[in-house]
């Protein structure tokens, strides 16, 4: 099964690559746009509809595929892009179906008004469920959405004066005006379904390539790394929940029109799971995958409909097999293009590097303390950092170097003490807020985003606040040099489209540092940047750090590589057991007895 699936996807990918190479570049650019895919879907579906007629069995199946695809695309926003597993897409579907049915049957609303209201109802329900759920991990979200499913099913029966209870609602006809006569042709509903499906595809693909979508995927892949770039996670999850639920409700509204009769039986909890299997089979987080999943899982079960129980057993078994053998689905690529970021970077002009001259103090840490349980990782650290200065932070393992970076960058709140940037207090701000004020950092193990393309990594960081042009140029130049050091040619668009999960550790280190420079920080914190790099790479890295410092970026560098420290830094701070042991010129470091004692245990 696994071979079959991976063979299938490999040959699909190979065919796509052959097709790509055979088309001229401008055509390729147009074809890569989501709007082209959406238009192609619209043309194909309309042609098939014209061929079969909307009332034929094939025509009905086509409409069913289209409307299920809408719910599946919505779930892909929630589960694929945001990584929030939702067991409640069936609930949104039911809400949309009933809102539409009630508006049409009891109030005679036209189709163009009923469907948007259904989508809005889904949006509201999704936002409501996502609001507390935005703080939760995957498990909490899954359970909240499961609960919502159970509740919605109860409520359909509870409010029977509105919903018709177990009897359901019938006579859901398409109208063109409030209180008008139902239209007699089935073409109206059929065309609406096909158009909505194509537009939904386009919206869902645009969501992914928008700034919000990129942030959403970054938070899914690596929330801590995202927060270090100033991207906060809470809102991306809530918005994804709401948007996904809106599409689910829209799909339910279309279902109402297609069936003309609905009852609670049509909305069992298996429906939610069906949508989930469609997304996972197609490829959660990919743009085309969910459509394929919806097509397959509408067509195959229709063939098995005559055997009871078989369909649900098939969904379950398929999901088990997928999770064991191909958890990322048929279309496993989740990266999206962001060519502008790479183009901008490649176009950065050469800059004149001024002489390094540390300026006025900008970051001040006063008596900073941080304890974990009974351990005082930081026992009162005070230091200051000047504009354009490079400070080396060294000390034995467990001396509190990384904790100091984590507290300054807002990843841990301080237990006591003050951190000020330009005189304003940073203590108590979250990591994303600290990053937006101009403090950027890297981590010991690079925190990059495995499911995103290199281009997207570079498009993610944004510059917040005022920076002079020389500093911006220096940061961009530095980022470009880092990419080149990491073996990435910024003029090669194919390289920019690779997913970072395929890259080696060393390259990710350069990519992460390039992202940190992408925010053009006032303060740059580097946590063991040289670990695992070759001598030439270290040399290149040093030059970049030195150049951006010369342009005014203040740098703190935690490193065990003492040669690098003595070549690069203006000042060394030695930490031991959470306190500053010594501070001074790197040239004097080896002559200090207390430092030697801390490192080597001899006086």
């Amino acid at each position: 099964m696994s071979y079959l699936l991976s063979d299938l996807s490999r040959s699909l990918r190979a065919a796509a690559a052959r097709g790509r190479d055979a088309t001229p570049a401008p055509v390729r650019r147009v074809l890569a746009r989501p709007v082209a895919h959406g238009a192609a879907m619209l043309v194909v579906a309309t042609a098939l509809l014209a061929l079969w007629g909307p009332l034929s069995y094939n025509g009905y199946v086509l409409q069913l595929v289209c409307l299920y695809a809408v719910a599946t695309l919505g779930l892909n926003i929630t589960t694929g892009y945001a990584g929030a597993l939702s067991l409640g897409q069936g609930a949104s579907f039911a809400i949309g179906a009933y809102v539409t049915a009630v508006l049409v049957v009891s109030h005679g609303w036209p189709i163009w008004a009923a469907l948007p209201v259904a989508a809005l109802a889904g949006l509201a329900a999704g936002a409501l469920a996502g609001f507390p759920a935005g703080r939760l991990g995957a498990i909490g979200l899954a359970m909240m959405s499961l609960g919502l499913m159970l509740v919605v099913n109860d409520m359909l029966i509870q409010f029977q004066s509105v919903t018709g209870g177990n009897n359901g609602l019938s006579g859901i006809d398409a109208r063109l005006w409030f209180g008008g006569e139902p239209v007699s042709t089935p073409w109206v509903v059929a065309i609406v379904i096909v158009v909505v499906a194509s537009v939904s595809y386009w919206l869902h693909a645009r969501y992914r390539t928008s700034r919000l979508g990129r942030a959403t995927v970054a938070v899914r892949d690596e929330p801590i790394g995202a927060s270090a770039l100033g991207v906060s996670g809470y809102l991306t999850k809530v918005v994804a929940f709401a948007a996904g639920s809106a599409l689910g409700a829209l799909s339910g509204g279309l279902f109402s029109y297609l069936s003309a009769y609905i009852s609670p039986d049509a909305f069992s909890s298996n429906l939610s799971i069906l949508f989930l299997v469609m997304v996972v089979l197609g490829g959660s987080g990919s743009r085309l995958g969910p459509v394929v999943g919806a097509v397959l899982l509408v067509l195959i079960p229709l063939r098995l409909d005559e055997y009871p129980h078989l369909n649900n057993l098939l969904y379950g078994a398929l999901l088990i097999v997928l999770m064991r053998l191909r958890p990322r689905g048929l279309f496993s690529r989740t990266a999206a293009p962001a060519p502008q970021a790479l183009r901008d970077l490649a176009a950065t002009p050469e800059v004149e590097v001024p002489e390094r001259a540390p300026g006025e103090p900008i970051l001040r840490v006063t008596d900073l303390r941080r304890s974990f349980g009974g351990v005082d990782a930081l026992g009162g650290v005070s230091m200051e950092l000047r504009r354009g200065e490079i400070v080396g932070l060294i000390g034995p393992n467990g001396s509190g170097k990384t904790t100091l970076l984590n507290v300054v960058s807002g990843h841990y709140p301080p237990t006591a003490g003050r951190i000020t940037l330009h005189g304003t207090d940073l203590g108590g701000l979250g990591a994303a807020a600290v990053a937006r004020r101009g403090v950027s950092r890297t981590f010991q193990t690079p925190k990059t985003f495995p499911g995103m393309s290199i281009e997207e990594h570079l498009a993610l960081p944004a510059v917040h606040g005022e920076r002079d042009q020389a500093m911006r140029d220096a940061c961009r130049r530095g980022a470009l040099t880092l990419l080149e050091l990491g073996g990435l040619d910024p003029h090669d668009p194919a390289a920019g489209m690779r997913e970072s999960r395929e890259m080696s550790h060393g390259r990710l280190r350069f990519l992460e540092a390039a992202m940190a420079l992408g925010t053009c920080p006032e303060v740059l914190l580097l946590d063991e940047p040289a670990a695992g790099l070759s001598a030439t790479e270290i040399e290149g890295f040093e030059r970049v750090v030195s150049d951006v410092a010369a342009a005014g970026v203040a740098v703190v560098i935690v490193e065990h590589h003492l040669d690098m420290i003595s070549r690069l830094v203006d000042r060394v701070v030695v930490l031991d057991l959470g306190k500053v042991l010594w501070e001074g010129d790197p040239g004097d470091l080896h002559d200090v007895d207390s430092v030697r004692a801390a490192y080597m245990g001899v006086a």
Partner: protein, 292 residues
């Protein structure tokens, strides 16, 4: 007051004991493997249904119980192999959520095959005939449910603290690589935890069948209620599971009697939302100390 005790507290505590047992079953698997088994509610129903089917096939009741337990162990080991072991302490919650959910779908569908999924009366468990106890009508089944909750929780706590195997399971939970490095088998630990959790499900299944009609489609609801109990108590805490279960039992019974039976799920859902807003790590759970 007597009215409240009789219509809310007694049945509420009995139901709550069952939700608590579901939550204890979750905790048993979760502490060792870091996996919450979404199919646990189906495992509970599987026990009741297996006994029913075995007796229906003509087996004597004691043999039916033996057969049902054998089914539980075999199914548990299969579930462990397909849906739990690949994700032991992996931190990838989306993966095991989906894999155990898939198992739940399969089990739910299989449970709907005998008797076409209709409710059945179960007369082979603890008696549900009520007698008078200090002025309240209670059944042996209800008393047994509450006793079983505390008994099972107590035994498990002893097992984790006093036996070598229990200690090994906790070691796997604390540090998978470290535990494997000193020779504790991840596969065996995961198997033991899954079978233990299935045995808790077996006890729960008998009690569910003894206190109410056996409705095979209720598996997912038990999973949800048990999870809300877990969320109230705190993930992986057995004591928390006991408290959480009893709280939900009484609250949902109160809603069912005084508001309406269709508002029970809603009440439990709102309770879950409240817990997440007020105390996201539950009463006895702790927020992780280090994240970066």
């Amino acid at each position: 007051m007597h009215e409240f005790l009789q219509t809310v507290l007694v049945p509420g505590l009995a139901d709550g004991a069952i939700y608590g047992l579901v939550a204890v079953g979750f905790a048993t698997l979760f502490t060792t493997t870091g996996v919450i088994n979404f199919a646990h509610g189906q495992m509970v129903m599987l026990m009741s249904m297996s006994v029913l089917v075995a007796v229906g096939a003509g087996l004597p009741v004691w043999l039916a119980y033996v057969a049902a337990l054998a089914v539980m162990v075999v199914v548990a080991l299969t579930v462990e192999w397909t849906a739990v072991r690949p994700f032991v302490q992996s931190g990838q919650s989306a993966s095991w959520l989906l894999s155990t959910l898939a198992v739940s779908v399969v089990l739910a569908e299989l449970l709907a095959v005998p008797y076409s999924g209709e409710s059945r009366n179960f007369t082979y468990g603890v008696s549900k005939h009520r007698f008078d106890l200090a002025g309240l009508a209670v059944s042996p089944a209800e008393l047994t449910a509450v006793a079983a909750l505390f008994g099972v929780a107590g035994l498990l706590l002893l097992f984790y603290r006093r036996t070598r195997v229990g200690l090994e399971l906790r070691a796997i939970a604390d540090d998978l690589d470290g535990a494997e490095a000193i020779g504790i088998s991840r596969a065996r630990a995961s198997q033991i935890a899954t079978v233990l959790s299935a045995l808790v499900a077996a006890v729960t299944g008998v009690l569910v069948a003894s206190t109410q009609l056996v409705t095979p489609s209720l598996g997912m609801s038990y999973t949800f209620y048990g999870f809300v109990a877990t969320a109230i108590g705190g993930m992986g805490s057995i004591g928390g599971a006991v408290v959480g279960g009893l709280v939900i039992g009484v609250v949902s019974q109160f809603a069912g009697v005084h508001v309406g039976s269709l508002t029970v799920n809603l009440t439990v859902f709102l309770l879950l939302a409240l817990v997440y807003v007020v105390r996201p790590h539950g009463l006895f759970g702790a927020a992780p100390v280090r994240a970066v």
